[in-house]
């Protein structure tokens, strides 16, 4: 971004609302951006590797690690007995997630021990040599099995209710029941999990961790080592992707590396192989939604009663808030006059499912779209009309199942835009005509909206800190609690700081997130990074600016209102002074040029027990229209066109926001189409590498892909520069792909039956849904 041109006097480089490139773009393309495995290794470093259980559910009878210890290059072996503090990394405090398993195995791939060796290959080979005897138990792999086994819940379930569901359902002119299975998703961050622990003096240890949540890693490591938090420093300059997969999942690797590092007094690196990473770490929750909907002949919803069962895995992890958020988004944009939504966070003997972009929201939201689809087929109306009929109102019909009144509803504007831009109705008619003439290939089209609530539902997480220094040459050091995983948080916050001081963005040094500079941070999650850290950084800038103004007013004897921050300079009365000059002068006058900033989101509150509150500061909106072509012989399909309109408020950085929208959509499309997690009958995940787990590739993106940021809107709340969060909401635009597939399938029976497609809609599921439609059509003709 330092392009070498002289400072502009009219406008700074890299201010807010500009399409500023990612701060590391140059380093990325040059291969010069450093990830943790690229850092020079300290002398004497050893590599740690985890020894994993090869049963899904068992009691451990005996553990014999003699062969591991004897293996070539091995320096030390660690088990639960070597954990100096507590053998637990449960972020919930439920004590249900050991670092090393001791007496029982709760999922295939659970770590039992760790081995340190001189090379990573030696450690990997040695890790396979553990001799473990098991007393096997039956695996409980999926939701059906968990229900059948009366498996416990991993955390307290949630009920959201409003109105009298029993009488509303009874009183509804029409009712239907159904069930939808929604698959999970692996994060497939390109950079896998990694931790590099470097021991220091006293009880200190510094860990370079690829994590979205340095403070939690710090707490977990201090807990595991039995040392105060002040002894543990976590640093992360960037991740090679996170998507929620490094919100809690980095804890295990950091804790194991730290234990070994302190014990051996050596630097220790732990980087699991991709397959082991995918086997060990949690993923997006699979859900089964069982629903009953009451509605009338117009297609208007009267009542919704639904249970959201989730495959949580062996521990709670974030399953509580994830299943909560599924319920919070079970309405999407639709008003349910009477509603009861219940979560069922089931324990299974699988990896512990965790945060993933949308955090349960996508599963809740696609359920809402299924309800709409069901009603459309039941009433023989167009799904888009049913959607519009049930949209939240602006002044009425605007209360959510959690009793928050929606104050910023712009879905009507978004719909108008998407219908116009996608030429939806005309194309829908053309597709029906195409399908009449095309024997094998069928097209489908769908338009789905998105409304996504912004804020952590755990209210206390909605806080952030920042640290800003100005050095005497006028250059600025910026630090905050947010982490960079590619989403462009660092550059957006730097834009905020550049704008605040009115200096070119290349004067602002972005620095690695570290628990030593900004403490007690929240995870960079819930799309909140820019909202929280941008405001915290702005507060820090404002504090320093106030001191500079006070100083200048006194020094040059001008009223404060005659002092202004102009591009790369200050106007002080009638004179203009460059930013470095004023900074130098302030320093000489002994003015502090460093400040912390703090921010907490206003207005929000949430009473989980009562299910009442305002968990969300505001909502982000969007809509997508999608067209697909399916092959009824094989179930293969292609997304031929996608149109997107998405609301980011007044965009802080349209280039970064567009990247989030496009990338989120494609990732959502992968979730709903080719990304399939598959466990075998022994409870082993068998799709644990890119050879078997298929995320979208370049040719999978829509043939025509039109993406527009909704123009002329601002956040109605005073969020950072009136922008809106963008990390998660676009993910759910991909619902349009799924329902376009469903529309194409429905054409096989002349749109008389709801295909009730489950996700992911692999070619196999599409083909079998096609066959079901054909059978239903034949059955009806016979009747």
């Amino acid at each position: 971004m330092a392009d070498g041109t002289p400072s502009n006097r009219d406008a700074i480089r890299g201010g807010v609302h500009r399409p500023q490139a990612h701060d590391s773009a140059h380093k990325h393309v040059a291969g010069e951006a450093l990830y943790i495995d690229d850092l020079p290794e300290p002398a004497g470093l050893v590599h740690l590797y985890l020894g994993l259980a090869d049963r899904a559910h068992a009691r451990i009878v005996s553990v014999d690690l003699a062969k591991v210890r004897a293996a070539r290059g091995v320096v030390a072996v660690f088990t639960a007995a070597d954990v100096p503090g507590v053998n637990d990394i449960s972020s919930t405090g439920l004590h249900d997630e050991p670092i090393f398993a001791t007496d029982r195995i709760d999922y295939h791939g659970q770590p039992i021990f760790a081995v340190a060796a001189r090379t990573r290959a030696q450690a990997r080979r040695a890790a396979k040599l553990g001799v473990i005897q098991y007393d096997e138990l039956a695996p409980i792999t999926d939701i059906a099995a968990a229900r059948a086994a009366k498996a416990p819940l991993v955390t307290e379930p949630l009920t959201l209710a409003r109105g009298d569901i029993e009488s509303a359902m009874k009183g509804a002119p029409r009712r239907l029941k159904g069930s939808m299975t929604i698959g999970g998703q692996d994060h497939f961050y390109l950079e896998g999990q990694i931790a590099l622990a470097v021991p220091g003096e006293d009880r200190d240890v510094t860990i370079y961790s690829s994590t979205q949540h340095p403070s939690e890693v710090q707490h977990m490591v201090s807990h595991a080592l039995g040392v105060p938090s002040h002894a543990v420093t976590i640093e992360c300059r960037r991740m090679g992707g996170g998507f929620g997969g490094k919100e809690t999942q980095a804890n295990l690797f950091a804790a194991a590396a730290a234990i070994a590092a302190k014990k051996l007094n050596r630097a220790v690196k732990l980087r699991p192989d991709r397959d082991d990473d995918m086997i060990i770490t949690g993923k997006r929750h699979d859900f089964v939604v069982d629903y009953e909907i009451g509605f009338d002949d117009d297609g208007r919803i009267h009542a919704v009663d639904a249970v959201y069962a989730a495959r949580c895995g062996f521990s709670a992890d974030l399953s509580g808030p994830v299943t909560d958020r599924a319920l919070f988004h079970a309405d999407n944009c639709y008003f349910y006059p009477a509603v009861r939504l219940r979560s069922e966070p089931l324990k299974t003997t699988t990896c512990s499912n965790t945060a993933f972009r949308g955090f349960g929201g996508p599963q809740g939201m696609i359920g809402a779209e299924r309800f709409i689809e069901e009603i459309a087929f039941a009433t023989a109306k167009d799904p888009v009309d049913i959607r519009k009929l049930n949209f939240y109102g602006v002044a009425e019909r605007n209360v959510t199942p959690y009793h928050q009144t929606i104050e910023d509803n712009i879905i009507a504007k978004v719909m108008e835009e998407i219908e116009r831009r996608s030429d939806f109705r005309a194309r829908q008619a053309a597709i029906r005509a195409f399908n009449r003439d095309s024997k094998i290939l069928k097209r489908g089209i769908a338009l789905t909206p998105v409304k996504f609530g912004i804020s952590f539902t755990a209210t206390w997480f909605n806080q952030a800190g920042a640290l800003v220094h100005i050095y005497t040459d006028g250059s600025v050091h910026l630090n905050h609690g947010g982490t960079e995983m590619g989403q462009g948080l660092y550059v957006k916050v730097a834009q905020v700081v550049a704008d605040a001081f009115q200096i070119d963005i290349d004067k602002v040094k972005i620095t690695a997130t570290t628990t030593g500079k900004v403490p007690n941070t929240s995870a960079t999650a819930a799309s909140s990074g820019t909202d929280l850290n941008g405001m915290a950084a702005l507060a820090a800038c404002d504090a320093i600016k106030a001191r500079l103004v006070d100083f200048a007013a006194e020094r040059w004897s001008v009223p404060k209102d005659q002092i202004a921050f102009l591009p790369n300079r200050l106007r002080v009365g009638n004179q203009e002074i460059s930013f470095p000059e004023i900074v130098k002068a302030a320093y000489m006058a002994r003015v502090s040029l460093s400040a912390t900033g703090f921010y907490k989101t206003p207005k929000i509150h949430w009473d989980r027990k009562k299910g009442i509150g305002r968990p969300f500061y505001y909502f982000a909106y969007g809509a997508a229209a999608c067209e697909v072509l399916i092959d009824t012989l094989t179930g293969e399909y292609k997304v031929e066109r996608a149109d997107i309109v998405h609301d980011v408020g007044h965009s802080l950085n349209p280039a970064i926001d567009r990247g989030q929208i496009e990338g989120g959509f494609i990732q959502g499309m992968g979730w709903l189409t080719t990304e399939e997690l598959w466990w075998d009958d022994k409870g082993r995940l068998r799709t644990h590498a890119p050879s078997t787990y298929k995320i979208p590739v370049a040719s999978d993106r829509p043939t025509i892909f039109n993406v527009a940021i909704l123009e002329g809107v601002k956040n109605s709340e005073p969020a950072i520069h009136r922008s809106k969060a963008v990390g998660e909401p676009p993910f759910m635009l991909a619902n349009s792909v799924f329902f376009a597939l469903s529309d194409a399938i429905a054409s096989l029976a002349d749109h008389r039956f709801c295909p009730r497609l489950d996700s992911p809609a692999t070619p196999e599921r599409v083909l079998f849904a096609v066959e079901r439609m054909r059978a239903l059509a034949a059955g009806q003709e016979a009747a």
């Binding site: 990612h22 590391s24 773009a25 990325h28 393309v29 040059a30 291969g31 010069e32 951006a33 990830y35 690229d38 990997r124 396979k128 994060h187 497939f188 961050y189 390109l190 950079e191 896998g192 960037r238 090679g240 192989d273 094998i440 290939l441 995983m485 590619g486 462009g488 092959d631 012989l633 094989t634 293969e636 399909y637 292609k638 990247g659 496009e662 990338g663 494609i666 080719t674 399939e676 598959w678 068998r686 890119p690 050879s691 078997t692 298929k694 590739v697 370049a698 040719s699 999978d700 993106r701 043939t703 025509i704 892909f705 039109n706 993406v707 527009a708 692999t762 070619p763 196999e764 083909l767």
Partner: protein
């Protein structure tokens, strides 16, 4: 016998003595050369984060190819030019046009896949100045990006030449000098890489290879390494001793004999595609979707056969075409029909001391009906759930005279549908006959049931592919495919 691995790394000549014979190029780059721009994403050649460009002399011409350094053994780059992300910047420190285009189009987010994507695009640009969108997608099929959704990367790929001229690229401008340097690294000596009695032997001639295989009958035969590489990186297997076939130029030959195509076992999938495309466009499409570009560059026809996988993509097509393979042991040779090579799951008719030398694919007569379908969860860079390749000939009476129906993914080996073939013989090529043939498939096959597809799906699709075959060969107007053949005609909107 030469004991030093010699290659060019950027502009430097590197000579490496006594190294681990099964060390990967990626590990060497990152740990020894400290070139950490090249990343490990999956260590199995599926994500492309480790992509580097390799220059090699091919028929005297310098040829650059993107490959996966994670599963490529260091010893196998002997005589090659290794170009990594670090070598792209100009000498004044400014970015290469490929890098400039990626940055200008916001082609990176987290940046971890980016060096690999830059290298794939660079290798493409070295070969084609203005590739079309399909070609770009094919070149990127082996590069996963989890952040961007690819749109800005495609835009960057289309815009590279806005940032510089191809002919000014140092590798193009200095091609002759680089070729001359590579020639000096080339010799007829067998390369021996040995450490602690673990060895890799890389003969340079077919005869030396034949001798080596007889002498080391238990050695792991290594060609493109697109499967054997995973034995090292995933299974942590010690594959030594290794015999590497890739230095033998004669094995890479592709020859059109008029009535048949003759492939050296070491011909890569790019070259195989070009030749097979002359037989039928669906063979071209099959090979277009074979692995990712890096795998197509590294993988060989002989490797895809010798490996014996039930889901390899080439065997069904080659079996349908009636291919034969020539196995060589010392000076002795035998020729067998390809289908006889596959005995049982991963058990092949390769005797001790033997290796596949050539594959002969007879050209079908002009009146033969041919069909090839690869069905997979994802179109690009995926392994087939079902692969069907069919050849059918009708006699003067219009009735089926010969049917060769070969399938992958339907049994423990690539296999013909014997009963279905028999029932078709003497019948008209019609819906009724196809229905009878489909009925036979349940007898012919017990399909696999795994994470790629259920047995029921495979069985259903196998039958439907015969239906597709009939439709495509009897109704010229019918559209039956959503990817590949029709894609070139698909319109694309400008991206704002």
């Amino acid at each position: 016998m030469r004991r030093t691995i010699r290659f060019l790394l950027g502009e430097e000549t590197r000579e490496i003595e006594s190294s681990d014979p099964t060390a990967t190029l990626l590990d060497w780059l990152r740990a020894d050369a400290r070139l950490t721009g090249t990343k490990e994403g999956c260590a199995e050649g599926d994500c492309g984060a480790c992509t580097v460009a390799i220059g090699r002399l091919s028929g005297g011409r310098l040829r650059y190819e993107a490959i996966n350094s994670c599963i490529r053994l260091l010893a196998t780059i002997d005589g090659c030019h290794v170009v990594t992300i670090e070598h792209l910047k100009r000498s004044d420190g400014s970015l290469h046009p490929v890098q400039q285009a990626m940055a200008a189009h916001h082609g990176s987010q987290c940046g971890f896949c980016t060096p690999g994507i830059v290298m794939s695009l660079y290798a493409l640009w070295l070969n084609e100045e203005r590739p079309d969108e399909t070609r770009i997608e094919d070149a990127l099929a082996g590069n996963l990006c989890r952040c961007t959704g690819y749109q800005p990367i495609i835009a960057a790929a289309r815009g590279i030449s806005d940032f510089g001229r191809r002919r000014e690229d140092p590798l193009i401008a200095n091609a002759d000098a680089i070729a001359a340097r590579l020639k000096t690294l080339r010799d007829e000596e067998t390369l021996l890489v040995e450490q602690e009695e673990r060895r890799l032997i890389a003969p340079a001639t077919v005869n030396a290879l034949a001798d080596a295989v007889v002498k080391e009958p238990r050695a792991t035969m290594l060609a493109g390494g697109t499967d054997v590489g995973l034995w090292v990186t995933k299974e942590m297997r010690d594959i030594a001793p290794v015999i590497y076939l890739g230095r033998v130029e004669a094995l890479k030959r592709v020859e059109d004999r008029g009535d048949a195509l003759i492939f050296g076992a070491g011909a890569n999938h790019i070259d195989v595609r070009k030749a097979l495309a002359t037989i039928h466009p669906q063979l071209d499409e099959l090979m277009r979707r074979f692995g990712g570009e890096q795998i197509r560059n590294a993988g060989t026809i002989g490797g895809n056969i010798a490996n014996g996988s039930p889901i390899g993509d080439l065997p069904p097509a080659l079996i349908a075409l009636g291919a034969t393979i020539m196995l060589r042991r010392g000076a002795g040779r035998r020729v067998i029909p390809l289908e006889q090579f596959f005995i049982a799951y991963r058990k092949q008719d390769r005797r001790a001391g033997e290796f596949i030398e050539t594959i002969t694919v007879p050209k079908p007569p002009p009146d033969a009906l041919i069909h090839v379908s690869k069905v997979s969860k994802r179109f690009d860079e995926d392994i087939s759930s079902v692969c069907g390749a069919f050849l059918l000939r009708r006699g003067p009476d219009g009735l089926v005279a010969e049917a060769r129906l070969a399938f992958g993914g339907m049994a423990a080996t690539p296999k013909r549908a014997a009963n279905a073939e028999t029932i078709l013989k003497g019948k008209p090529w019609s819906e009724e006959s196809v229905a009878l043939a489909i009925g036979c498939l349940a007898v012919d096959f017990k399909p696999l049931d795994d994470m790629r597809a259920s047995a029921r799906y495979r069985a259903t699709v196998a039958g439907n592919l015969l239906r597709r075959f009939l439709m495509e060969t009897t109704d010229a107007a019918i559209a039956t495919r959503v990817a590949g053949l029709m894609r070139a005609d698909a319109p694309r909107a400008a991206h704002g």
